[in-house]
Amino acid sequence: MAPILDIQHVSKFFGGLAANSDVSFSMQEGMIMGLIGPNGAGKTTLFNCITGYYPPSRGDILFEGRRINGLQPDRVCMLGMARTWQKVRPLAKMTVLDNVMVGALARTSSLRVAREAAAEQLRVVRLEHKAAFLAGGLPIGERKKLEVARVLATRPKLLLLDEVMGGLNPAESEEIIQLILEIKKRGLTQMVIEHDMKAIMRISDRIVVLNSGEKLAEGAPQEIVTNPEVVTAYLGESLA
């Protein structure tokens, strides 16, 4: 089966600094790909390249067989690829429902249809009781859920989640894990950046490890935890 996302030799330079250098991997439909690596490994840069915030300096990004590098983020979203932000970006002075409606309006011009779609996504992330609240007033756990509901409302085929569990307590993280697994059941493909190793091992079908901008390893979760290079990258030379 042709991959839904194919990343071919992608490099991104900022001046002389290679934030990503010759990264290649591909994703099959319906899978969850974990993207891990130490701080500064280039995970978010790769997200930004994939979703159109930066054009990659070199290499190609193919979504459903179509070359998408250089496309603007709004075009990428319309093609069916949506991302959340590591630092959440609620539309603070709009209500929670209105936030999700903005996402839903990517697929309709009718406010009524968008409102129904938004209400449905709020039920999926269990935030419907906060629909009328201003998004700026939500605690962090609910802001993260709002981010997910909002991108789901754009009806993506591929979802890129950038540290949706960052800053959450264990109970909230568990809710997000269940949510990600539920989204998978609906047939959506997901790429997940996460620092919580236990969580990423549980949810991922495959994992890509980045280190200093380069792909260090790729494989099933079990292969990754036993990979000596990965252990070195995370814990340092002497412990490996």
Partner: protein, 363 residues
Amino acid sequence: MRALHAPRGLALLPLLAFLAVLLALALVPAFASSPYALHVMILLFLSIIMGEAWNVLGGYTGQYSVGHAAFFGLGAYVTMMLMQFKQVPPWWGVWAAVAVAVGVGVFIGAITFRLRGPYFVLASIAVAEIIRLVALNWKDATNGAEGILSTEIPPLSIGGRLITDFGSKVPFYYAGLALVAMTIAANWLVQHSKLGYYFQAIREDQDAAHSLGIHLALYKNIALAISAFFTAWAGSYYALYVGFIDPSTVLSIDISVQIVLICIIGGIGTILGPVVGALVLVPLSEALRSNVIYEGLQQAGIVSEGSRIGSFLKENLAHAHVLIYGILVVIVILYMPDGVLGFAKKMAARRAARRAAAAGGSR
């Protein structure tokens, strides 16, 4: 959300209130025949139109233009130039003026909307200044600093029947009222459509909006076009009403700042905000100009005309109206960051909360 739960009839309430106010205002000339009263009302209408127009771009979309004098001036100039030099009646000329302003707006937008925050503000000021300098120096077309004086507005007749000869303030009053109604209606339509949601998303967070499928440049330009359209209308209306324009009155940065102030004072990003702002600023500036403060002090017996302080104040308070106006604006901005309307809402909410707490306590 409100619409999701509110019964349908409730949504009609604001519309009925709006129509009732319009009807009441339509009856005003029949009772108040004082030209000064009509003059103040016309200034009020003008301010409301300008404020509501800016609101679409600045209020909903969050692009703070301090260069709206460009569109105001273009509206005024194109209408007057066509009327005086080409004998085009203003009710046709105004459409040309609006088209020019929208065209210039979209052209400027294509360039300046790459800029964000303060850089966009600076660019908008620069563009307005460029247009002012063009009007000042392109003497063949604009008369330069001399300005354009309208000799006479041709009478408006439809199908041979005379509608008005623009001989009094009354036709201007009705034209202004109609423009106010249309501008507010346009704001309402924007707010209750996909456009309004997208504009607000751009205001709240451009990167987030971009990632949700919103074409930033396209929607910012739509907001600018709507805003320029109504601002040019206001400029055209002003020019015909006053009958004289020059670069320093219709294209100066004072106009741009005045427009922004109407919205900031009233409350940004709401339909009623600019109305409230105009209701505060227009009477205030008229009162200060006509030296109401001195008369009040004199009548209260605090100062007398004969005394040195009295004559000093009488001389100078009228001149100081800009200063006093400025101080009041600073006070409002400091203590009511969401404008007078936002402040009133907050007060109402606080009182409701207190009442609820009191009710809870007595249980």
